[in-house]
């Protein structure tokens, strides 16, 4: 099930809210668990077993690790951690990467192994990372063991963040799972976040997606430079507004049930360097790799060569995490190279440039990155990249470019401004101006959120373009 659907808004959400708030506090985690399982099972019931296995493995892993540590058996604790991590990673590896591996072997050796054609279980990359972080944190003593299977199950399956993140580390919500107090203020905050997220997804991301798909479907040999860049920019907007909208909705829904998830996006497109971009983009993933891969490998507190190795290991894995395909691997390595160059050479010169050049530099490489990211078919991707640089001699603009531009001028303006802090600043300033008048603030806010909601419903009823972008993750 996805949030941006009539089914979620007008069947699932009202049901879970009613049940959650009428039952006694003691069984609210159970309610969340059951509804989350229903949410996950909708449309793909079989893979729920896989998720349950994953939950049980890390649940048991956590208990064994904890008890062995308490007995002072460091070695056995470590062994238990390794076993549970290997099982989790094997499940992820098998379901996500088996066909990729078979394809690669076939390609290298000419063998004809049959592909398995498994449908990727939705969200497996997200929940595998969550369960792994839990057992590792228990082993490190950074998280308490969770002996209540229902609470642990609720953590892993929790529907707000189940299928597209953020990746919630267990230690950050351990206390909230044990005892939390839902308040009207937090619920209202959640509504704001959810509505914003819904509007970002349905009204902005999907419409940017329409523009991108229009360009993507064109013949690249006939693409003038500007059309290609408009298309790529539209994709960049689509991905950002889609992904961050999911995080907004997840955080908002979390608030409605009394949880506080960490932020996942922080205006990535206003970054002045690639290093900064990755501190602002998909923060929970970056944090995960930092905490569980980069730092354990020694991070930057090792010799230069090992430091460089660590950077590339992390970025290779980051790329590969996004999908079982070579283009994701290359995309990851691409960022590894960029970050390496920034860290060791470019960084200090970059900072001396006027801010505008820093922005242009960063956006240019991010956009080229999305070109690598979006095309599974590398040949198509290279063809598109050639069009970006005028490699087909189609000039800078044509009729179609002008048509696309003036048709999407308002949309593009909203997308650009929406990628910056400006809307939030204006909103805050408006509220400050209205300070003292509760009624005015209530009126402005309610009209705004109701409008966003109603327009989103209109787009959903029309069943317009509404893709789910994270099937590959």
């Amino acid at each position: 099930m996805i949030f941006s659907s009539l089914l979620f808004l007008f069947r699932f959400l009202p049901a879970v809210l009613i049940v959650y708030y009428i039952v006694p506090r003691s069984i609210r985690n159970l309610v969340l668990l059951l509804f989350s399982l229903l949410f996950y099972a909708w449309g793909e019931p079989v893979y729920i077993l896989l998720m349950l296995v994953s939950i049980l493995v890390s649940y048991a892993g956590g208990i064994v690790v904890d008890s062995q540590k308490k007995k002072g058996n460091e070695g056995r604790a470590k062994a238990a951690l390794i076993v549970s991590s290997v099982i989790s990673l094997s499940l992820l590896g098998f379901f996500k990467y088996a066909d990729f591996a078979i394809n690669t072997v076939n390609g290298l050796t000419g063998a004809g192994f049959e592909l398995l054609h498994l449908a990727l279980p939705i969200g497996i990359s997200f929940y595998t990372f969550q369960t792994m972080s839990y057992t590792i944190d228990v082993y490190r003593g950074e998280a308490q063991v969770q002996k209540n299977l229902i609470s642990f199950g609720a953590y892993v399956t929790m529907f707000p963040q189940l299928i597209a993140g953020p990746i919630v580390q267990y230690k950050t919500i351990d206390q909230q799972l044990r005892c939390r107090k839902e308040t009207s203020e937090q619920f209202a905050l959640g509504i704001h976040r959810f509505m914003i997220g819904l509007g970002k997804k349905v009204l902005l991301a999907n419409n940017a997606g329409v523009l991108w798909e229009a360009v993507r479907a064109m013949s690249y040999e006939q693409l003038p430079v500007l059309t290609a860049w408009i298309g790529l920019a539209a994709y960049a907007f689509q991905l950002y507004f889609d992904f961050s909208a999911y995080s907004d909705m997840a955080i908002g829904l979390g608030h409605m049930f009394g949880f506080r998830f960490l932020e996942n996006f922080n205006y990535p497109y206003i970054s002045k360097s690639i290093t900064e971009f990755w501190r602002r983009w998909h923060i929970s993933l970056g944090t995960w790799f930092r905490d569980y891969v980069y730092i354990p490998l020694g991070g930057n507190r090792v010799g230069t060569l090992r430091h460089i190795r660590n950077i590339f290991v992390v970025w290779l894995l980051t790329g590969f995490w996004h999908g079982a395909n070579w283009n994701f691997v290359i995309w990851g390595i691409y960022y590894g190279v960029l970050l390496f160059v920034e860290k060791f050479f470019l960084g200090k010169y970059l900072k001396k440039l006027p801010a505008i050049f820093q922005h242009v530099y960063c956006l240019f490489f991010v956009l080229i990155g999305w070109n690598l990211f979006v095309f599974d078919d590398m040949k198509l991707g290279l063809g598109f990249m050639r069009a970006l640089f005028g490699g087909y001699g189609q000039g800078f603009v044509n009729q179609e470019t002008i048509y696309l531009l003036y048709n999407n001028v308002i949309l593009l303006a909203i997308l650009m401004l929406g990628s910056t802090r400006l809307p939030k600043k204006l909103g805050d300033r408006l509220c400050a101006a209205l300070k003292g008048s509760d009624v005015a603030i209530i009126l402005v806010k309610n009209i705004f959120y109701a409008a966003v909601f109603l327009l989103s419903v209109a787009w959903l009823v029309d069943a317009s373009f509404n893709p789910f972008l994270y099937f590959r993750f």
Partner: protein
């Protein structure tokens, strides 16, 4: 945020979420959408099998979307907002000048089906060339997007249908292709396509008939030879339905022979015999273009007292519906075959029909997208 503000937004949220939930639950299901001209999804059957396969879940979502309260109003709201944002198109439909809603047909002409249909039609024409000689005509009528180019939004550059029509012409034997594009283009400032529907108007069919009659050696009629009746001024066609907005309504005209002529119309073998090509009950419904022959039928057989000794088979889509009434005085018999609904062999029909003439009449995008064209040569 203080408590008062919080409770206000919570109240609003609950009204929206629960309000629409309850509304969608108590609203009785609508079987058929008049405005969209299609059957809406019904509540899917709940079985263990359908749930496990994911089929139930997918169907249920379609059901929910199709049966949503005030469905048409939501769709209209979306289109209105798009227009307010300077968008000159929505759902592959241009908001063109003078209130015209014109379909783009993006991609329709570059598919495998489009290429296959050209080949099949060429093969079909060669199969029957010997039998019909120069009594065989193929007309594939360009769509509004091709003829009404002047009305399109500035800088719009849709696919050039003429390129596709040229492909068809080249696939046909000499003398079979009848070009309608130039005839229509000469009248592109007149009312030759509906503003809200994908069909051409009767006036367009009349202009084409004039030229065809000349070519065939029939008496070339003038508009004054007909009694032109405007049967409705409240026609909102299929293109408008996709957008759900208030559009300028169309009128439908029919060209009646001034002298009463007698003919019979039989829809389907063994169907009831009627005495008019017009079905005025269609005017009471949304699909008012169905006034011509009451819409699509697999086979319509018309018998006349023309006494010219010629018998015509028309293989057609609905563009032919307003064209065929002009032919009543020139052929003793006219059979209209809609291959999309016909599941017998075309070759057998032709073998049994004793036809002297063959007319193939489609609109360009309809032809390019039609997956039943491949059955022509069966």
């Amino acid at each position: 945020m203080n408590k008062r503000q919080s409770w206000n937004i919570i109240t609003l949220f609950c009204i929206l979420i629960f309000g629409f939930t309850i509304a969608t639950m108590i609203k009785p299901d609508t079987e058929y959408s008049e405005s969209e001209n299609r059957t809406l999804a019904k509540m899917p059957e709940l079985t263990a099998e359908s749930v496990l396969s994911g089929e139930f879940e997918a169907d249920y979502e379609t059901y929910l979307t199709d049966q949503f309260v005030a469905r048409d109003a939501w769709i209209g709201l979306k289109t209105d907002v798009e227009r307010a944002m300077f968008k000159r198109e929505s759902k592959d439909i241009y908001f063109a000048d003078d209130g015209y809603l014109i379909e783009k047909h993006t991609g329709a002409f570059t598919t495998d089906t489009a290429a296959l249909n050209v080949r099949v039609l060429g093969e079909f024409a060669r199969m029957y060339q010997e039998q019909f000689q120069d009594h065989m005509t193929v007309m594939v009528v360009p769509n509004a997007v091709d003829i009404l180019k002047d009305k399109l939004p500035p800088f719009a550059s849709p696919y050039d249908e003429e390129a596709y029509l040229t492909q068809i012409e080249q696939a046909l034997p000499e003398g079979v292709w009848f070009d309608t594009s130039d005839i229509l283009r000469a009248h592109s400032d007149e009312e030759i396509y509906y503003r809200t529907d994908h069909h051409w108007e009767t006036l367009a069919a009349f202009y084409v008939y004039q030229q065809w009659a000349k070519q065939q050696g029939f008496a070339v009629p003038q508009a004054s030879d007909y009694e032109i009746e405007t049967v409705t001024e409240a026609f909102e066609g299929t293109v408008q339905s996709k957008l759900g907005i208030d559009a300028q309504k169309d009128s439908i005209e029919i060209y009646k022979q001034k002298e009463d002529i007698f003919y019979t119309v039989q829809k389907g073998d063994g169907g009831e015999i009627g005495y008019s090509v017009y079905d005025r009950t269609a005017l009471e419904t949304k699909s008012k273009y169905d006034i011509f022959f009451g819409g699509n039928h697999a086979l319509v057989r018309i018998g006349t007292r023309a006494g010219k000794g010629r018998r015509l088979l028309v293989i057609k889509d609905s563009y032919a519906h307003c064209f065929v009434p002009f032919l009543l005085e020139e052929f003793d018999a006219i059979d209209m075959l809609d291959i999309r609904y016909y599941n017998q062999k075309v070759s057998e029909l032709i073998a049994q029909g004793d036809y002297t003439d063959l007319l193939f009449l489609y609109n360009a995008s309809g032809f390019a997208e039609d997956t039943s064209i491949s059955r022509l040569t069966y």
